[in-house]
């Protein structure tokens, strides 16, 4: 029955002179999303609204699911449009619409007409009251409530006439590509994909880096990270995933530094390497899935120690989240099942039984001096052997 969707966007509407940039980006992202669906669609912007119009048969649920992945959409309204063939015909169409969409008629309603085409013979107020009468005549069990109606029946008079009343919530946020690009440190755990999702939601394009440590981590662990990147690329668009072979660096740190500082020093090198790649690929920041106090390497002291090696801003969108809250989002974006697959990642393989939880920066720096001889070369080699995987839906 529905033949189009009216796309509502909340936050973009308040932008000033840049508004068109956001709207154009949103139209572009919607076009990408419906391209994945069965059927032909036209996506266009008119008078401050975006419409997705089906030009052929299409799968309603599939289309809605894909629209729900487009950041910037606050609501998706399934629309029925009809030709303007006089008010009497419109009355019949509206009655038919209510008949099909609301099998249960014991509801309150309000008609909300908008007349974009001012040459229509009735004014908006007249349409509201006349149409209310038509509906009450056909469905006597329905009642009018102009303050808190169950059904807000919108009728928009344009070239054609649009009828809609339902709003399916969208993901919110801003269209991807309007906020620059950032480098996500993707580990394979539950947190980092969620962190990437949350920053992408603010319109940021995402690249990712994964630290691989063969033979300590397996091909399956790497595949798992690729799979996770693919899941979030549903929302973020294509992701450039850099796979860095971290084994030699890790073993060198293991050889030269106290073992309870291993994780912190390792993370400092991960941040350094991530920042190097980020700078080379025009990223404006790093993203991690850290949350204060979750593990030894995420205490305030540890975060300060890992943060110190970067000059770029590090975005940590989960910083105040509890684990359960993170899990909730990961379930929503379908990464949870993949994240909990039991493959070891490089952060845990050499982890000490009691790693330092309150690292002292001076001590950490002194330990790192033990690495001076070879570490630069090892980092350069790792960067040179960066394996790039382009991940998309």
């Amino acid at each position: 029955m529905f033949t189009a969707f009216l796309i509502k966007y909340a936050e973009i509407g308040v932008k000033g002179k840049n508004r068109y940039i956001f709207e154009d980006a949103l139209v572009q992202q919607i076009k990408y999303a419906v391209k994945r669906c069965e059927g032909e669609f036209k996506v266009y912007r008119t008078q401050g609204r975006i419409y997705v119009e089906a030009l052929s048969e299409f799968d309603f649920d599939e289309t809605v699911d894909n629209l729900k992945t487009v950041f910037g959409i606050s609501g998706i309204c399934p629309v029925v449009y009809v030709e303007d063939e006089g008010f009497e015909k419109l009355g019949k169409d509206v009655v038919k619409y209510i008949g099909e969409v609301y099998p249960e008629k014991n509801k309150t309603f309000k008609v909300n007409a908008r007349r974009a085409r001012k040459n229509y013979p009735l004014t908006s107020m007249e349409i509201n009251s006349e149409m209310g009468g038509v509906i009450l005549d056909s469905y006597p069990e329905m009642r009018v409530d102009v303050h808190k109606p169950d059904i807000m029946l919108n009728i928009e008079i344009r070239e054609k006439i649009y009828i809609y009343s339902e709003t399916i919530p969208g993901p919110g946020g801003m269209p991807v590509g309007t906020g620059g690009k950032a480098m996500l440190l993707l580990s394979g755990g539950i947190d980092s994909p969620v962190a990437g999702y949350m920053i992408a939601k603010r319109g940021v394009k995402i690249d990712a880096v994964y630290f691989h440590a063969p033979p300590y981590t397996s091909e399956r662990a790497k595949q798992k990270v690729v799979d996770l990147a693919r899941q979030i690329s549903r929302y973020t668009g294509p992701i450039y995933l850099h796979v860095i072979n971290f084994t030699d660096i890790q073993l060198y740190i293991y050889e030269k530094c106290p073992h309870d500082e291993l994780t912190i020093i390792m993370r400092r090198y991960m941040m350094r390497i991530a920042e190097r790649i980020a700078k080379e690929t025009e990223c404006l920041g790093l993203i991690t899935g850290e949350s204060i106090g979750q593990v030894a390497s995420q205490t305030m002291q540890s975060l300060a120690a890992t943060n110190e090696v970067c000059t770029m801003p590090v975005y940590r969108p989960l910083i105040g989240f509890d684990k359960m809250e993170i899990v909730e989002v990961s379930e929503k974006i379908n990464t949870y099942e993949t994240s909990i697959l039991p493959y070891e990642d490089c952060c845990t393989i050499f982890v000490a039984k009691h790693p330092v939880t309150k690292p002292n920066l001076n001590i950490i720096r002194r330990s790192e001096q033990n690495l001076e001889e070879k570490i630069e070369d090892l980092v350069e080699t790792a960067l040179k052997n960066d394996e790039l995987i382009i991940v998309h839906q």
Partner: protein, 384 residues
């Protein structure tokens, strides 16, 4: 160099088997139930396959049923056997080191109200007949014991167990999971008092997705899959003709020179064990020599987690398994290793090497050399 030493997980298909299967899939692709010539041709392959398997077991071809593999054979034997005989009692006996195809089916039966006794094993992974004798009661309807263990290669006293069971209660059914033993040993159910026996194609250089179940003609088993009534209604569903023909071809090929091939495997295994135990703090789980399976060696390498050693060997082109492939995807430690009393640290440091007729002495030398190189290196970096 690529060295495949994970033959307990699965084996490379024989070329002749693959060729025969291609021929059937692209040429003789009829449905054996069809009345026309194409159907008759397909049926001929099934009949020939039954004869072949029956001959290797010295049983009647009517007693062979084809399934989707070892797990399905085990499930039909246990669940179908228990359901058909539940009026005579609700007690079942098995061992603690069975394949999940047995253990999980037993768990299912426990949920249905059956009582299952799990026989313990000694440090070599072998049951004690005395335990079996004590566990047998008047209302024990079924005993299932594996022939060859998939993780450590221990062999069970099948013939003695069969005699004991029948002596104590002639009505008790005796099922043997011979997925790892078929193709390595000559197993004669009639002589060993075996009522049901499971086998699988892909462990003997045949195809995956096909197996067989021998059921003694006097034994009642209820089907657990229903449909068009193929295979006397015991296992409905259009027969997997290429798979079945491939399984039979592989069995035929493996049993032609069985003794010679098995002796070769034993000598490869001994060579490997001699070499690997030269490394410090390396131990073999279970028995060695002719009292064990010719193709499985379970090795514990103290101080190195199995997954790490596995991937380090993989780096050199050597493919092995951590514990058993069926269990390797799960994080919990292996039931078999636990049952033979391997200490916890070593359980996480155990890998399995398994050989086949394609394994060569050169490959063993290469693998040993790789381990001499890798293990000292990996031991430098251990978790504290």
């Amino acid at each position: 160099m690529e060295v495949y030493l994970d033959n307990s997980a699965t084996t490379r298909c024989f070329d002749d088997v693959a060729a025969l299967m291609t021929q059937i899939m692209c040429g003789d692709y009829g449905n054996p139930s069809s009345l026309h010539l194409k159907g008759v041709q397909a049926e001929t392959y099934i009949r020939y396959a039954k004869e072949t398997i029956a001959k290797t077991l010295k049983v009647n071809e009517k007693e062979i049923y084809f399934t989707s593999g070892g797990t399905e054979s085990d499930n039909i034997a246990l669940i179908g056997g228990a359901l058909a005989n539940h009026r005579m009692g609700r007690r079942l006996i098995t061992t603690a080191i069975e394949h999940p195809g047995i253990l999980q089916a037993m768990k299912h039966l426990e949920e249905q109200g059956f009582h299952v006794t799990y026989l313990p094993v000694d440090q070599n992974g072998i049951i004690r007949l005395e335990d079996l004798r004590k566990a047998m009661t008047r209302d024990t309807i079924l005993v299932s014991i594996m022939h060859t263990n998939n993780e450590i290669g221990s062999l069970q006293p099948i013939e003695e167990a069969g005699a004991l069971i029948k002596k104590m209660n002639p009505n008790t059914l005796f099922h043997v999971d011979a997925v790892q033993g078929f193709g390595k040993f000559r197993i004669y159910p009639k002589k060993m008092n075996i009522d049901m026996l499971s086998g699988s194609g892909h462990k003997i250089h045949g195809p995956k997705g096909v197996g067989f179940l021998y059921i003694h003609e006097n034994v009642k088993v209820k089907p657990i899959i229903f449909g068009g009534g193929q295979q006397n209604g015991m296992r409905s569903g259009t027969e997997n003709v290429p798979g079945i023909a491939g399984l039979a071809k592989a069995a035929e090929m493996i049993y032609v020179n069985l003794e010679e091939e098995v002796n070769k495997l034993y000598s490869l295994k001994q060579k490997f064990i001699d070499g690997v135990t030269k490394i410090e703090n390396v131990s073999i789980n279970g028995l060695t020599g002719k009292n064990s399976a010719p193709h499985v060696v379970s090795v514990s390498v103290r101080g190195i987690r199995s997954e790490v050693l596995l991937h380090a060997l993989e780096d050199k082109g050597i493919y092995v398994s951590a514990g058993s492939a069926c269990a390797a995807r799960k994080p919990q430690p292996s039931a078999t290793l636990k049952a033979i009393g391997v200490e916890k640290d070593l359980m996480e440091s155990t890998i399995r090497f398994s050989f086949s007729v394609f394994t060569t002495a050169d490959e063993i030398d290469y693998t040993l050399q790789a381990m001499y190189d890798i293990i000292p290196m990996l031991r430098k970096y251990t978790r504290h």
